[in-house]
Symmetry: C2
Subunit: 298 residues, 2 copies
């Protein structure tokens, strides 16, 4: 089984899934950014921390119990480090970046990192090339992190594009895990900025067509459970609804899991089966229950 993941939503689901089955995770890297001298991979880190059992389950980023001594000192000195990087989290960024500086690929560096963190599951960057989600807004064209973290998601979104995506190709490891699985789960991550980069990497989408692909809608009713998914879907011309999510994935999707509040949508639509359950994951128990529901389709 292979899971496609962004941050927040899918990691919440992985928290439950890891108690029940084996899987590999292919992770979005288009939100990665060099900050304070080192490479931050927000989605990879959230996945790793979740699987290592050290994620901060309040924020769903960063490490539980982390301190912010360096970050606070930077602010005191007048240096605007616009993401709040924890002291332990920063060590992970340094570990990764030292390996990249030595010439390792992101895939190799991530493998070393997951072993250092004691993570058994394969965690694979979607590609080794640098891809950058750019958000075109009424206030200019900016990196996703600038839009979401620095500007708190307030500018109007006109478009989204993935800079460098034309050069990105599926890694050997990504091809291997996809070729050897039958079941692919797309977690409840942002369809536009988390999943679309993954399926836009050359070589990935073709491999999804023959699999049983199940997606969990991150849109409940007509709103995203968390994050800016709604704004981005609208900008890309999709309806902000679970069926809008199905439409983003229409080329390969078999089953869409929607929340109970959208139970009226249960049925078949152009080959996509819509099923409903409680998709809100507040506790570890919620995560496990949703994971069990999904595993019935495997």
């Amino acid at each position: 089984m292979v899971v496609l993941s962004g941050g927040t939503g899918t990691p919440k689901l992985l928290r439950g899934l890891k108690e029940l089955t084996e899987f590999a995770v292919i992770v979005n890297t288009a939100e990665d950014i060099w900050i304070s001298g080192n490479k931050v991979c927000p989605d990879i880190d959230s996945v790793l921390y979740t699987l290592a059992g050290i994620i901060d389950e309040e924020k769903w980023w960063g490490i539980k119990g982390d301190s912010f001594r360096t970050h606070e000192m930077l602010l005191k000195l007048g240096c605007d480090e616009f993401m709040a990087i924890g002291d332990l989290d920063r060590a992970v960024h340094i570990f990764r970046s030292e390996l990249l500086r030595k010439g390792l690929t992101l895939t190799e560096a991530t493998k070393r990192l997951r072993k250092a963190l004691g993570v058994e599951q394969e965690v694979l960057p979607m590609c080794d090339e640098e891809v950058e989600t750019r958000v075109v807004t009424d206030e200019g064209d900016m990196h996703f992190q600038e839009f979401w973290v620095k500007r708190k998601g307030t500018p109007e979104v006109v478009d989204v594009y993935f800079k460098g995506i034309e050069k990105a190709k599926a890694t050997k490891d990504v091809l291997r895990v996809l070729e050897s699985c039958d079941f692919v789960l797309i977690g409840p991550s942002n369809p536009i900025t988390s999943i679309m980069p993954i399926i836009s990497v050359r070589g990935i989408k073709e491999l999804l067509i023959d699999k049983t692909v199940v997606a969990v809608s991150p849109i409940v009713g007509s709103e995203a459970v968390s994050g800016p998914a709604g704004k981005f879907m609208r900008a890309k011309g999709f309806k902000v609804s679970p069926l809008g999510v199905a439409y983003v994935y229409k080329d390969f999707l078999d089953i869409l899991v929607v929340d109970d509040v959208d139970r009226r949508l249960v049925g078949e639509y152009d080959g996509v089966k819509v099923v409903a359950t409680n998709t809100i994951m507040k506790t570890a128990e919620d995560s496990k229950r949703l994971a069990e529901f999904i595993l019935r389709f495997d």
Copy 2:
């Protein structure tokens, strides 16, 4: 008044001097090194922390009361960050490096940093070019920090050289403070690895010849008060004694301050006057007393 400084010895003296008079400091940068994505300038930082009143007076590097969360996490992950960088200290390295990445010179970045730390005295890197102290040992040719921190100064030293020194030239600021002063103090820093790089920068030595130059010997008896000065002086063919120090500075030195234990050396030698006092600085009071002694020659 201008002070030439390395780490440890001269900062100890600056602790006293700053209570008594105004001065600018020209600092050795040949021990600088990029670590964990950011530029560490050990001597500049020790000078800045001393003048800001935040230096760790146990170790004479780093910030008082600092924690090592990131460093310890790196070690736990198996990443050998060979200098123990504190969390607050790391913020200073990031602040500097962010400015360098934006295209500022080290002089400009240091100016911003000293203002952010509330330091009134000018603190000037000896040059803006990268110069690197390399130690040739029986175990190979290595960066000074590798020799001193990683290998704990144990290899036999065959030679020392300053990679890149031929391209280094005195900055506008260094020329300005030197041209407008009459009195230059060379602190009790390592004559070979702290002071020799400074006086080897094109344009500096010539300006020292006409000044009253006072140096404090870091060698007491036949040993260095701290650090590897003895090993380096021997490798460079100098006697490990206060008079050996005078010989390193012979082209421009007027007065050498030696410790009371070397009082037998008091006298005149080829135009250098040797005077004696207690040069050991354990307390802030010791630093001030030595600074007062030196200021008599101004």
